[in-house]
Amino acid sequence: MSVIEVKNLKRDYETSVGIFKREKKVVHAIKDISFEVGQGEIFGLLGPNGAGKTSTIKILTTLLAPTAGEARVLGCKCFGEEKELRKRINFIFGGERSLYWRLSAYDNLSYFCDLYQVPEKIKKKRIADLLDMVGLSDRAHYRVETFSKGMKQRLQIARGLVNNPEVLFLDEPTIGLDPVGAKTLRDIIKRLSGEGKTILLTTHYMQEADELCDRIAIINKGELYALNTSEKLKENMDSAVIEVDLDLLKEDTLYKLKALENVTAVSAASYNLGHKLKIDCRNPKKIIPLVSQQLSENQIKSIVMREATLEDVYLKIIGGDCSA
């Protein structure tokens, strides 16, 4: 049985426009999204700003009612059966908020333990374990306002785990963290997944999604555009990338390259020492000789062939279409 079930989910927002003649305007944040997440999976939700990611997470964490469709977590309806559900899930929104800054790390965790009905016997040990896990044991009794951004974010993770949730929702958990901090966070997420927790996360960092997620959904404008494992998404692209560094870029070069068989797209970027061409193509091994032939007069500095990355997939699916 799936832990998270989303079926034909819709969410509209009504807003009023204008000052004198107020007009009701309906915004469709989620138009029609369906997916399922299995036990122990790390599921990534990718998409541009305004795609409907946060609305989806808010519905799943019982903070928002769906306009239509179904959203169930652990078999409970997210709107209507939240009483049962809330005990078993938790969420972490990225950034430094959602904590009481004037209280210590320990007080924060202790308070949320009480709100999540954690029995007194377990509470002490759990707080100690969590602080240890996020590396804040020695700062337990300092006020949160004295913490660095990374420490606050780690404390957030600890807060999200006070009830030992079966399902954890993470909305851009590594936003604004330095590389080391982000790595620490990713390791924690992997460890949690290893313990059997189901995790749904959103992120704007493709490498992070690639590294962490078992499956990835790409949504845009409230609709699901793609859903698969990272490997499959890349395979399905059926495409590789050839990157060429050049000294000279002639007017007709791009045109000629585009005309080659199996080439799907060509783009060029200039920088102060020359130009860089990005050629999307199928069957790159056959194409490389043709490309170097075409570019024989352009003073090639290097040619590199690589597999498509998740970012290539994302950009291809979303396209230049980030108007939302």
């Binding site: 809330r86 308070y111 009830n163």
Partner: protein, 261 residues
Amino acid sequence: MRSNVKAIISSCKLQMKQSFSRSMFKFVVILSPIISAITFYFIYSDKTDETLISYVFLGTAITSMWSSISFSSAGDIDRERFMGALEVIFSAPIQFKIIMLGKVMGNTILGIASMLISLLVVVVLFGAKFTLAHPVLFSISMLLGIISFVFIALMLSGLLAISRNTRILMNCIDYPVFILCGAYFPIDVLPDYIRPLAYVLSPTYILKLARMSISGITDYSTFYSCILGLLAVTLVYLTGYLWFYRVIDVKARKEATLEVI
């Protein structure tokens, strides 16, 4: 049930810690009753001890209690939202209204502290004699009064979460309440057509009851009808509280317009 009680106690403690680290709250709880007790002492200084207790002490006590409650209930949900903690407590298994009950109780305890401070100023600093004709009835009145304050604060916090306009109004509600409930003068001085409004406010009853039990009750039927009145308005506040929080719980999630989340 037990976890609810625990959550209430926990929220109450948290609220007191939080509030006390805020300078405005320290002012409302500590300095404001001291300075206003002193000011009103000089205004009433030619009067008897009984008047001093009935008007300077009770007036300052009730107005500081009101300020601490309206000040915090007006701002608590906003502050939680500002800190980003609102959605976290909203989605906890303990119901939002229970958590808020704990928070308001925290403010109330601090409000009681400022009541005691104003008593100290009048008695210690100015040497007014604090004598009670009916200590038991006085205690009962105060206890009921405090409970009533808790529910009026809860009702207000719910109402304020629902409506932005009430939030603006809240900033100007202090003087009307002080005037209507007769904090520093009996409400008999108010024009007849305004007086009925006084009886929707529990402080009106609390002040009447307290004054009667300080100076001696001549007419028990007035005393008991005041108790009944206090209970009745408190019941209205309780209903309002439960109703508003129900609206918040459902409407906030359905319409996403209440800015609760």
